[in-house]
Assembly symmetry: C2
Homo-oligomer: 242 residues x 2
């Protein structure tokens, strides 16, 4: 059962870049690396060091002597290139390509993400093997990416399709979020103190101040512990100096 796209690096020049690409793959939960005619040894010490604990991916990488062979058993391949080519082809953002790959994989189709040599990028003969071109949306005036960064961005988009962590969480650790009554009780306590101080006397102004204070203390999702901290602060402040 195929569950992840493989990464195909066509004629990578530097072993270090292959290692860094492996690291980026591991960051994104990808595992299978295919190399077409790498110029340097992808198992060299430099490559392994650059992989930063992702050397398993390097050891298991398969080496091919042509791109045709490297994609032979795949059902869907997307090629990363910054330039549009003179080929009639779908051009997908990295996000859309990742979504497409995830769908294909769900249908049991093996997918590959293809990246070209550092200097020149993929040539037309490689690109014509791909079902689609991936165009990573970046500043058009400065879109040159390191090979491993291209792998990282596309892999990251794929990772996001698999592991929806939820865009927004609120972390309270071991404390309990305070419910409104607790917050309002604190606000009332503060309002009473301010009344006693002689503030708050004028009706309309008092109302405004109450609303301001309540906004301040409701906007930041206080925890019970934090409400207690606030009581402590206030009580310290009003304590007569000894």
């Amino acid at each position: 059962m195929i569950t992840l796209p493989c990464v195909i690096l066509v004629e990578p020049q530097l072993a270090e870049n292959v290692g860094m690409a492996a690291r980026a793959m591991m960051n994104c939960g990808l595992a299978e690396l295919r190399l077409v005619n790498p110029r340097e040894d992808h198992l060299s010490a430099k490559a392994v060091a650059a992989s930063s604990n992702a050397e398993e991916i390097l050891y298991q990488a398969k080496v091919f002597s042509s791109t045709e062979e490297a994609v032979g058993d795949l059902g869907w391949v997307a090629a990363t290139t910054a330039r549009h080519r003179d080929q009639t082809k779908s051009v997908l953002s990295a996000e859309t390509a990742a979504a497409d790959a995830a769908l294909k994989i769900q249908s049991g189709i093996s997918c590959g993400l293809m990246f070209g040599p550092e200097r020149t990028g993929l040539n037309n003969r490689d690109i014509c093997l791909a079902d689609a071109i991936i165009n990573i949306p970046l500043n058009p005036k400065h879109c040159s990416l390191n090979l491993s960064q291209a792998v990282l961005l596309v892999g990251y988009e794929f990772y996001k399709t698999q592991a929806d962590m939820g865009g927004r969480q609120f972390v309270t650790n071991n404390t309990t979020p305070a419910d409104k009554s607790l917050v309002l009780k604190f606000c009332a306590y503060l309002e009473n103190l301010l009344d006693d101080c002689g503030n708050f006397r004028v009706g309309e102004k008092r109302e405004k101040m109450v609303i301001n204070l309540r906004n301040i203390f409701t906007r930041n999702q206080l925890t019970e512990q934090e409400v207690n901290t606030l009581y402590g602060v206030i009580n310290h402040l009003i304590k007569p100096k000894s």
Copy 2:
């Protein structure tokens, strides 16, 4: 008028990483870099070389002696950290943080994206200055990122909020997509030829073959030029050998 978030690197250790972060910023259309107590000279030859033509960002970077000063004029700050901290705080995915920053900026609020030192990440005193934590969704078993890669991923998400390139395009260059009639005419031509060859004789099988062929030639959005190419191919094939 603020239009982009600034990037704040707190105590970056290596000048090279600052240069690479500048490159990643430029990739993502970001411009303003703030450095809190960088250990090395961010204008060194190494930093400039690593920035790969983004040295302007380095030259214009502002250096601060504390994180408090670096964020002083900002209205909203998000801190990147791989670990959740013991702080009650919103935790946003990079995508959600980018969307939030874009919204804040629309409201005229200056935003900052904060990144910690390479080895240790941001400490708790830095994080408590932030409105939210950015948690980049990555393989939890291998989520350590190079500083510039963290800047790249968060910057990329921000770039996507600004420049929606459309997820899916179909590039035909200077050729015209073939309309259905042209494709069907070609299919009919082919069907007739196959009839003449003596294939296609049995009614039900013929129907199946017609549908298969039409599916093959409609699924790939042919251009007019490509239809002509197909005619050429067929005509070559049926030409009697001289």
